[in-house]
């Protein structure tokens, strides 16, 4: 009979990208129970609709999280445009999709580095983050910012991207794809990686559906909930989109799904660049939001399906802005996956969920 001890995991933990606290009841290196606690980074951002009018609120929305920054500004702008019946020009929609897919690449590369570091593979961590620097350079070339881009506004984009910058972006993406595929092959075929991740934290297809999981976390258990298939917003312009699914439902499956999604995102971004036509990138949106106007929007962020809801009250300020982020949906799945795992696997399981607690708490 082993002795039970409670190991506090987080909120300050070098391996976690975000502050989440877990009390792990451990018996002989096996986790018997995991009780999550969040709330360390609640900033009350949804209440800021009272002080920032709907045009200015984009700047608040994109600061919900540093990793999913562009996704939030895009989702917010699309929601308001839907509510006010605004037709965004085609060029702006394509550039938005391109930047969002590049944002997805950046998020997955960050995640891949942290996962490699979590089980002691420091050299892979460094190499992947070096590749990520190329992506951040692309952002700086096109929008001027590396993390918070501030290029979305209600009605389109703040500024256009010139053709020679776009051709530079295209060549950078092509070289990134080659380098990345070599690293991906090494990582996925490494025996020590497989020994640590295969069969760990398994969640079956039915469990995934019952727990309402979203994103690559669920797609590894063969649940197709990729919002990009629904053709919302700029994503209806994609020629052919097939979501990446895996059947194993363990940590290795989730790693594989995200690794393949990087390549898919590079292809989508290249497709958008090559099919761009000239035109304007914004329309003027003025005036207050009609009283009682409401809209719901869905967006596939790197971590999963994100839900936006807005309600107007006749003024320039929104009555309510709701952003339900994918990590909030995945919390129940995370607690289920941690049940009965080894202490050494706790890092791994939490990281394969890709928690973005800043988004969860806003």
């Amino acid at each position: 009979m082993g002795k039970r001890s409670v190991i506090p995991f987080g909120p300050q933990h070098p391996v976690l990208p975000e502050p989440v606290h877990l009390d792990l009841a451990v018996e002989d290196e096996k986790v018997v129970k995991a009780i999550p606690q969040i709330g360390f980074i609640h900033r009350g951002l949804e209440k800021l609709t009272e002080t920032h009018d709907y045009q200015n609120y984009v700047y608040v929305a994109e600061r919900i999280c540093g990793i999913c920054s562009f996704g939030h500004s895009l989702g917010y702008c699309e929601t308001i445009e839907q509510m006010m019946d605004v037709d965004v020009p085609m060029r702006a929609q394509k550039i938005r999709v391109m930047l969002h897919e590049i944002s997805r690449i950046q998020s997955h590369l960050l995640w891949l580095g942290l996962t490699a570091d979590a089980f002691g593979f420091e050299s892979l961590f460094m190499h992947v983050w070096r590749l990520r620097e190329n992506v951040l350079d692309i952002f700086e070339m096109t929008t001027g910012g590396r993390v918070i881009l501030s290029i979305n506004k209600v009605g389109g984009l703040v500024r256009d991207i010139s053709d020679d910058v776009l051709s530079q972006v295209e060549s950078k993406l092509v070289s990134l794809k080659d380098e990345y595929q070599q690293i991906e092959k090494t990582f996925l075929s490494n025996s020590s990686v497989k020994s640590r991740t295969v069969g760990v934290g398994v969640i079956s297809h039915d469990q995934a559906e019952n727990l309402g999981m979203v994103g690559p976390f669920a797609r590894a258990s063969h649940v197709n909930n990729d919002v990009r298939c629904l053709g919302i917003g700029g994503y209806r312009l994609l020629s052919d989109f097939v979501p990446i699914l895996d059947t194993t439902g363990d940590c290795y499956g989730r790693i594989r799904v995200r690794c393949k999604e990087v390549v898919q995102s590079i292809d989508i971004a290249l497709e958008m660049i090559r099919s761009l036509s000239s035109g304007s990138v914004s329309v003027d949106v003025k005036g207050p939001i009609p009283d009682g106007a409401q809209a719901v929007n869905l967006l596939e962020q790197p971590r999963g399906e994100c839900f936006y809801y807005s309600l107007g009250n006749g003024t320039q300020y929104l009555e309510r802005m709701r952003m339900r982020t994918p990590s909030s949906e995945n919390l129940a799945g995370m607690v289920a996956a941690l049940q009965g795992c080894d202490l050494a696997d706790v890092n791994m399981i939490i990281l394969t969920i890709d928690p973005c607690i800043s988004c969860t708490e806003r």
Binding site: L211, G212, V296, Q316
Partner: protein, 176 residues
């Protein structure tokens, strides 16, 4: 393409039955959202299907106030625990029978139910907006009203001269 969405109003007693029905039809609850409105707190449950997409179904319970009780749908959808705890912490709505209940400690807040507090600037803005909207509506109605009597006069006596010419003729007569 805009997202297909439907809004239905329901009662507190229908929350559980709606959740059961949506689950049986293969949809899942994707979020629970509370809004503070002039008539009280609204709670919105959004459902979406697993396979394919027929739209987001939103069921709204209107007119709750701080301290009211609503039943938890965590038995059908365990992933909703963050939102039900959030409803309690930020809006003061008591959610009963929660499977994972943080008892008010989900977010460590400085004051109770901060999202129910409406600042004075916001109230003033809304009042002003309502006045402007009411004034514009009244102006619109007045314009509509003015246009219709003029049309009636023109149709009934087309030979009637304008008052100006009548005056002129009388003054001319006087002057002679």
């Amino acid at each position: 393409m805009t997202v297909k969405q439907n809004y239905h109003s329901i009662d507190v007693s229908q929350i559980l039955t709606t959740a059961q029905k949506e689950k049986d039809e293969g949809r899942r609850c994707i979020q629970i959202c509370c809004t503070t409105t002039d008539d009280g707190i609204d709670v919105m449950y959004s459902y979406r299907d697993f396979n394919g997409f027929s739209g987001v179904e939103n069921f709204v319970v209107h007119g709750l106030s701080k301290g009211d009780e609503i039943p938890s749908i965590q038995e059908f959808f365990p992933s909703q625990f963050p939102f039900e705890n959030e409803a309690h912490d930020l809006f003061g709505i008591n959610v009963t029978n929660m499977k994972l209940d943080f008892e008010g400690n989900f977010y460590k807040l400085g004051e109770d139910a901060p999202m129910t507090v409406i600042s004075t600037e916001q109230l003033k803005r809304k009042e002003r907006a309502k006045k402007i909207a009411a004034a514009m509506k009244a102006k619109q109605q007045k314009q509509n009203a003015q246009q219709s009597p003029v049309a009636k006069k023109e149709t009934s006596s087309p030979t009637q001269q304008s008052p100006g010419t009548n005056n002129k003729s009388s003054s001319e007569k006087k002057g002679e």
